[in-house]
């Protein structure tokens, strides 16, 4: 079994250690017996590359990098990205990347930057008077409601879903989409949009395996079955954060 992981703009969208998600996917792919090929999708690459991918990933960055990338998405690659996500390609989009896929991002000085309108949501930066939402976060997700998924969030924008039932998770501790309605991220078709850094996948191997299994299911129409996984350290790392809040 071989799947392709498309990593959007690694040179630009990598401010918050989100590369750990690629490392985690590669590790668990090996454990599950999947050949995972990581393919970089950068500014100069043709947009057709996107359609060959089984998993798509993009991380977060600073405003300037996001602006550089946003132009390429809007004028060039966005249409194929939208097609892929609508077709059910597995995806993970973190922080800035998550915001891109909504209708728009309103900056602190009131400028509206249009997004790709793949996700039915919008994001607004409330300005300097409202502090960034920073800290540990724990959520219960649609993928596995029993277990708390843990990460670290650091965002100035507040995101609002048009339909709260689309949320990726419910906030147990931390801020989530906007610090008010207890929603976190979005789960649309097979794609996750989330604010969770940490990075999200290493400490939450069930999410990692879910993405890989979904990709295999979609491509090969079969399910992977394995009984036991060694995730003792992942659990300890996660529990260390959880026990500070619960």
């Amino acid at each position: 079994m071989k799947i392709f992981l498309g990593w959007f703009y690694p040179q630009f969208m990598s401010t918050y250690g989100d590369r750990g998600n690629i490392i985690a996917l590669s590790y668990w792919a090996k454990v599950l017996g999947i050949e995972l090929r990581v393919v970089e999708i950068s500014l100069k690459d043709p947009k057709e590359k996107i359609l060959k991918m089984d998993i798509l990933f993009m991380g977060g960055a600073q405003d300037i990098q996001q602006e550089i990338v946003n132009q390429d998405l809007r004028n060039n690659k966005g249409e194929f990205l939208k097609k892929a996500i609508e077709d059910g390609v597995v995806g993970l989009f973190v922080c800035g990347a998550y915001q891109f896929l909504g209708h728009y991002y309103k900056t602190a000085d009131g400028k509206k930057i249009p997004g790709l309108s793949i996700f039915d949501l919008y994001t607004e930066n409330a300005g300097d008077k409202f502090p960034r939402l920073i800290g540990d976060i724990g959520i219960k997700t649609k993928i596995n409601f029993e277990e708390i998924v843990v990460g670290f969030e650091n965002h100035g924008g507040r995101t609002y879903l048009s339909d709260k039932s689309l949320a990726f998770g419910k906030v147990v501790f931390g801020f989530g989409n906007n610090g008010i309605d207890k929603t976190e991220g979005i789960f649309y078709k097979n794609t996750i949009g989330t604010y969770l850094h940490g990075p999200i996948l290493p400490k939450n191997p069930k999410i990692t395996r879910f993405l890989l299994e979904k990709a295999i299911e979609r491509k090969y129409k079969k399910r992977i079955r394995m009984k036991k996984f060694d995730e003792e350290w992942e659990k300890k790392a996660k529990d260390h954060v959880i026990k500070r809040y619960i």
């Binding site: 918050y16 250690g17 490392i23 090996k30 800290g135 940490g198 990075p199 290493p202 400490k203 350290w233």
Partner: protein, 439 residues
Amino acid sequence: MVFYLSIILGKLIVFFSQIFKIGAGSTWPGHLALIFDKNFLKKIFKKNPHLQTVVVTGTNGKTTTVALLKYLLEKKGWQVFTNQEGANLLNGIASSLIKNTNLFGKIKKQVAIFEVDEFNFPLIIDEFLPQMVVVLNLFRDQLDRYGEVNTIASRWLSALKRLSQTTKVFLNGDDPNLYYLGKNIHSLVFYFGLEKENMPHKTVSFDVDFNYCPVCFNLLSYKKVVYSHLGSFFCQKCGFSPKDVFTLSLKNITFPLLGIYNQYNLTAVLLLLIKGFNFDLKELISLLKDFLPVFGRQEKIVYEDRVFYLFLSKNPVGFNQSLETAFSFVKDKKNIFWIILNNRIPDGLDVSWIWDVEFKKIFVVDKKVFVSGDRAFDMAIRLKYEPTELKKNIIPIINLKKTLKKILKETKKNEKILVFPNYSAMLEVRKILIGKKFL
């Protein structure tokens, strides 16, 4: 009157904290003085026009740079004082001034060197204008506390613009963003850098945050790279590239500190002493060989007949550099590693950055890697996910003392242990190995 009372009170606190060995002496005197008299700093500088002030800022290398400046100035017979490491807010600076003044506000020493962190640098410039400023580099560090590098850079730019036209500003010319800052300020700017032949890499690594041109936002190109975004950069689109960068031929220099990052610190110091104090380069170079590393930075500590080397590693660029330096230094590559990761207030709470450090090399030999600290298991996963067959060698134990016991069991006399702690972890492990409280 309030000014003099502040000095007396401050001095009393210094006195008592020394007698009772409480660690408040480095910030409290200044803290109180600033409460009593908002203009305390302005007044004390006005009373001492002879005092030369140097501010050193940047993400990595500040402490070593300050120590080297002080060392060389003292070798040349100047009297120098500094703020204590970690006390780099206004109160720490005020405290160091109180310690060095007499009751009438007069300071005998001739040079004050202040280490100021990247976040606080603009706040310090609001309070007083130094005669000289060194900006070493800007990398991401503690994003949850300091913010993103671009935010820092734009705050720096407006701070540097407030400096007077006669202020001498020393900037890293191999750093595209700092070079750009230098082109937009009114002071006397000098750039330091490394010679192209001493730049070891051809491509930028993954810990980089400034890979685009600060003028036209095109992706930057590099002829050679030193590490992270430092190197001989140029923009293919608009032609942005550095000129007039001071470099040193390092062939004939005996400098006791390892690591290419220390070549930057050294070059910055020498340039400052030449341009700011009219010292002779040859003479300065002859004085370097006896300089000792500052604590926690390549520091050697012998404990129970084992030799521990401490490499402070508190952000992705710093960690990658520590590893690179450690590997150049241990030729036999058979040493035990001990990585310690905390996430306390001085470290930043977010540990996501460890995923941008390259750990592959650690597994080139079949030796144990101990992992401790509050976030030991985050680090353990980071190492576990490296593609290697040597996962059995990773031993996570949160508690430092328990880890140390294990290490002693695993090692023989005279064996070397390479320790990579982040900031609070460094203070903690040092306290255990030396057996006394520091700071």
